[in-house]
């Protein structure tokens, strides 16, 4: 038997369903620009039919909205995360390499080459008139500029390393914050979904957090089924691992922490750089993401001494140190590197004689002075004698050269300086190879020869050394930029595909809005019609 108001109920269910659908449309529209939002769709079905006992079959009872689902392709999420790890690493490297390039400031009118040219040009001027005080003063000035170039470049690198170190800390903090947020969301999502619902918006927020995390470090995220719940559904846990260890495991989180190094990884490093550890003290394996980019540039010395195989700040510091040491020892002592240490190949500044101001007195011209030394206490240049104060061997001793060379290892780009003897008296600049010959430039000629000494460095002459350093840096920076661009394009492409699936299309939503509105109107019309039927039945029938 048919119920009296059955038709009204059917129409009413249509009203409800349409309304629910419109709500979802509204939700989509409101979140059209929400980052990480995936569009939702209400699931609509016909409600359970009634079996009619008179043998005429089933009668439909209307419609119902059974749930709201999130439209998302999880494969694309995984894809996004794995590409984003490389994206984070290379875009960070590209950014940092840019800074390194700016530090070198080449090619320009104020870079190394210009300064080196200036120094050697001043030596040329001196060679033409070694007794000229003006020419001597010019040499001191140009040499000081050269030394200062290295000082400021090295200081800039130190500052830069320090900045990167701070960024490492910030990134680690960021990872911890995101991990905690994900853990919280895990709890909420799990609790909601226990009852069979899907926590669409919370899942979106969680995915967005994992997106951010994947840019920072090499993480992997997945949902793991842990068994069955009492109601028969899968018991799903969400896990994030970093370098093989779990960062977030369902409701628990293991944080990262930074520990100041007690011993330097590179001798060129500044003090107390951070090592990243798990909170439980274990070491963490960072192989990707921004963190990897930061660590590579901060610690990379091209694999020397177990450092990352990347040419980062310590690599350039080491190269600068190598330059000033080799240059200083060749200029001062005339030593050049051979297979086993150093050899005294030509006469150096120390072998020459300076300007003899008064030829009539018994005092001979200054000699035995080293042109370059380093900055000592209070950043004041030390004297020639102080530089080799540690040498115990006699000059005739075979160990002498090695001991002297050992002293030069104390010179770094940061403390490189013109010696105080030269600064205090430009007449101490040695030009002559004999006492009292103020027009003699035999030593100066040898010093100028350093500029074109192809065997000074394995890269060649001083300028070749710098040229190859700058070219190498350019290539590395270019590579980082190219990788960053490619990787960004890949990420962008995956993100596009994700947005294609999950994004809100306003036209679509408007169409649906019209559709559901019509559906609502139709159901309402149905109620009016039913009303008219009952009007006929109740009010018109048998009323006399």
């Amino acid at each position: 038997m048919q119920q009296s108001f059955f038709g009204l109920n059917i129409a009413l269910s249509g009203l409800y369903t349409a309304q629910r659908n419109l709500d979802v449309v509204g939700h989509n529209l409101s979140n059209a620009t929400t980052p990480g939002y995936s569009r939702q769709q209400s699931i609509q079905s016909a409600s359970n039919p009634l079996a009619v006992m008179d043998g005429t079959g089933m009668v439909g009872t209307g419609s119902q909205a059974t749930g709201v689902q999130r439209i998302r392709d999880t494969y694309l999420d995984f894809k996004y995360w794995s590409e984003n790890v490389a994206n984070g690493e290379w875009s960070k490297k590209a950014e940092l390499m840019n800074e390194i390039q700016i530090t070198f400031n080449e090619p320009s009118q104020s870079g190394f080459v210009k300064i080196m040219d200036g120094f050697f040009d001043s030596l040329q001027e001196l060679s033409k008139d070694p007794s000229s005080g003006a020419a001597r003063a010019l040499v001191v000035q140009k040499a000081t500029t050269l030394a200062k170039y290295f000082n400021s470049t090295a200081t800039h690198f130190e500052q830069f390393q320090n900045d990167i170190n701070d960024q490492v800390k910030i990134d680690v903090d960021q990872i911890n914050i995101i991990a905690s947020q994900i853990q919280l969301l895990n709890k909420q999502i799990y609790n909601y979904e226990l009852t069979g619902d899907t926590a669409n918006d919370l899942r979106d927020s969680r995915t967005l957090l994992v997106d951010q995390l994947s840019k920072l470090a090499n993480i992997q995220a997945k949902e793991v089924t842990y068994g069955k719940l009492p109601n028969g559904d899968d018991d799903i846990h969400f896990q994030i691992t970093l370098g093989g260890k779990t960062l977030v495991d369902h409701f628990s989180v293991t944080k990262l922490t930074v520990v100041q190094r007690s011993t330097k990884l590179n001798e060129e490093d500044i003090e107390n750089l951070y090592d990243i550890k798990w909170e439980d003290g274990n070491s963490v394996n960072i192989t990707g993401g921004e963190l990897r980019g930061l660590l590579d540039v901060r610690d990379g010395k091209d694999g020397i001494d177990g450092t990352p195989i990347y040419k980062g700040v310590p690599y350039y510091q080491r190269k600068l140190n190598e330059f000033v040491r080799t240059f200083a020892i060749a200029f001062n002592e005339g030593y050049t590197k051979i297979d086993s240490g150093y050899a005294h190949t030509v006469a150096g500044h120390v072998d020459g004689y300076g300007y003899d101001g008064d030829l009539t007195d018994a005092n001979s011209a200054p000699t035995g002075i080293r042109f370059f030394t380093m900055l000592g206490v209070g950043d004041t240049p030390i004297s020639s004698a102080d530089l080799i104060a540690g040498v115990t061997a006699n000059i005739t001793d075979p160990d002498y050269i090695d001991q002297v060379a050992e002293q030069y290892n104390k010179i770094t780009a940061k403390n490189f300086s013109v010696s105080s003897d030269i600064i205090n008296d430009a007449n101490n600049i040695a030009t002559s190879d004999a006492d009292g010959q103020n027009g003699n430039t035999n030593i100066l000629k040898k010093l100028m020869g350093i500029r074109s000494n192809q065997s000074l460095f394995k890269e060649g002459a001083p300028e070749d050394f710098m040229k190859s350093l700058v070219a190498g840096m350019g290539i590395d920076a270019q590579q980082a930029e190219t990788f960053a661009k490619t990787q960004e394009a890949l990420v962008k492409q995956v993100d596009n595909r994700r947005m294609s699936v999950s994004g809100v299309n306003l036209n679509e939503e408007m169409t649906n809005m019209v559709r559901f509105q019509q559906s609502y109107n139709a159901a309402a019309r149905m109620i009016v019609t039913m009303g008219e039927i009952y009007d006929t039945l109740i009010n018109k029938l048998g009323v006399g």
Binding site: T33, F104, P107, S131, K445, M466, A471, I475, M499, S500
Partner: protein, 309 residues
């Protein structure tokens, strides 16, 4: 592919960003006139730029050195010419004095002029160029010859100068040095060295002939006459050498100015942006940028929302 609104916006922003960065690239090229701003823009160009800069800077320095070398050698040549004149005049005087018709008084008078020539010769031997004694070898701040007329050592060398080793050299090219000085012994001591306290051959000739003239000995003067030719020949040898060096300096100057033009040309080709090409490119990028802006503005506005009223 299903297109969504965020995709449209994000793609358009990416495209706009790319356009902007290309515009910025050409903008920078125009502003700086250089093809590259950082080595990573083109590492090869950057490395070559460094090399060429050094080359250009070296050439400019060599040009300066050549200028200075030229002045020094020219000054030497002038001094040598003066010495030549003195020798010529001295030879004339000696020939005159050798004539047996001269009375001893007349010969003695000629000896007076001869003395003046000797003094002048000593002063030329001590010529300075920008405050430095030109013929003193490496001892450029010391006089070559004693010029104190009252001293018994007048006309004798005051310092040791080794003609072979005391060569002042200027670098006038890569590994190319030119010897710009002439050592005093070479001129005044017939190609030998200068030794402290020794009277140079040229001065000795003057001393001897003055003695003969003062004594009025015509024959004695005659016997020394051929000595002047020896001195003049030696001087000519030195002048020829100096002349050859002047020649070499001129040639090098010529080559250096050619090199400089070539190098600066290379440098410009290597690193300078072509303004016409850059402006064209910039204009083109501006066009693209404006079109994408206009297009974007249209696409993003229009949705069904605009029509459902």
């Amino acid at each position: 592919m299903r297109i969504t609104n965020n995709m449209l916006v994000s793609n358009m922003l990416t495209a706009l960003g790319n356009n902007e960065s290309r515009m910025m690239k050409y903008q920078n090229q125009l502003n700086t006139g250089k093809k590259i701003q950082l080595p990573s823009d083109d590492p090869i160009v950057a490395a070559r730029a460094l090399k060429l800069r050094t080359d250009v800077s070296k050439i400019e320095q060599y040009q300066k050195n050549l200028g200075d070398a030229k002045s020094w050698v020219d000054a030497t040549d002038t001094a040598l010419a003066q010495i030549g004149d003195i020798l010529k005049r001295a030879k004339e005087l000696a020939t005159q004095a050798a004539n047996g018709t001269n009375s001893p008084t007349e010969t003695g008078n000629i000896g007076e002029e001869m003395k003046q020539l000797k003094i002048q010769l000593v002063h030329i031997a001590n010529t300075t160029y920008s405050g430095r004694y030109m013929f003193s070898g490496f001892k450029t701040d010391q006089k070559l010859i004693n010029d104190d007329e009252s001293s018994p050592d007048f006309g004798k060398f005051e310092i040791d100068v080794n003609t072979i080793t005391e060569k002042i050299q200027f670098e006038i090219g890569e590994g190319d040095n030119i010897n710009i000085n002439v050592c005093g012994g070479d001129i005044f001591n017939l190609g030998g060295n200068a030794a402290d306290g020794v009277e140079p051959a040229m001065m000795a000739l003057f001393t001897n002939i003055i003695t003969e003239m003062e004594a009025g000995d015509n024959d004695g003067v005659r016997s020394l006459l051929n000595q002047f030719d020896v001195q003049i020949d030696n001087l000519l040898r030195v002048r020829a050498d100096v002349g050859a060096r002047q020649n070499r300096i001129d040639l090098s100057e010529d080559r250096m100015s050619n090199d400089l033009v070539n190098m600066t040309d290379l440098m410009s080709k290597n690193e300078d942006a072509d303004p016409a090409e850059t402006i064209m490119n910039l204009k083109m990028e501006e066009n693209v940028y404006q079109s994408s802006l206009a297009g974007g503005a249209r696409i993003i506005q229009q949705t069904l929302v605009d029509f459902l009223r």
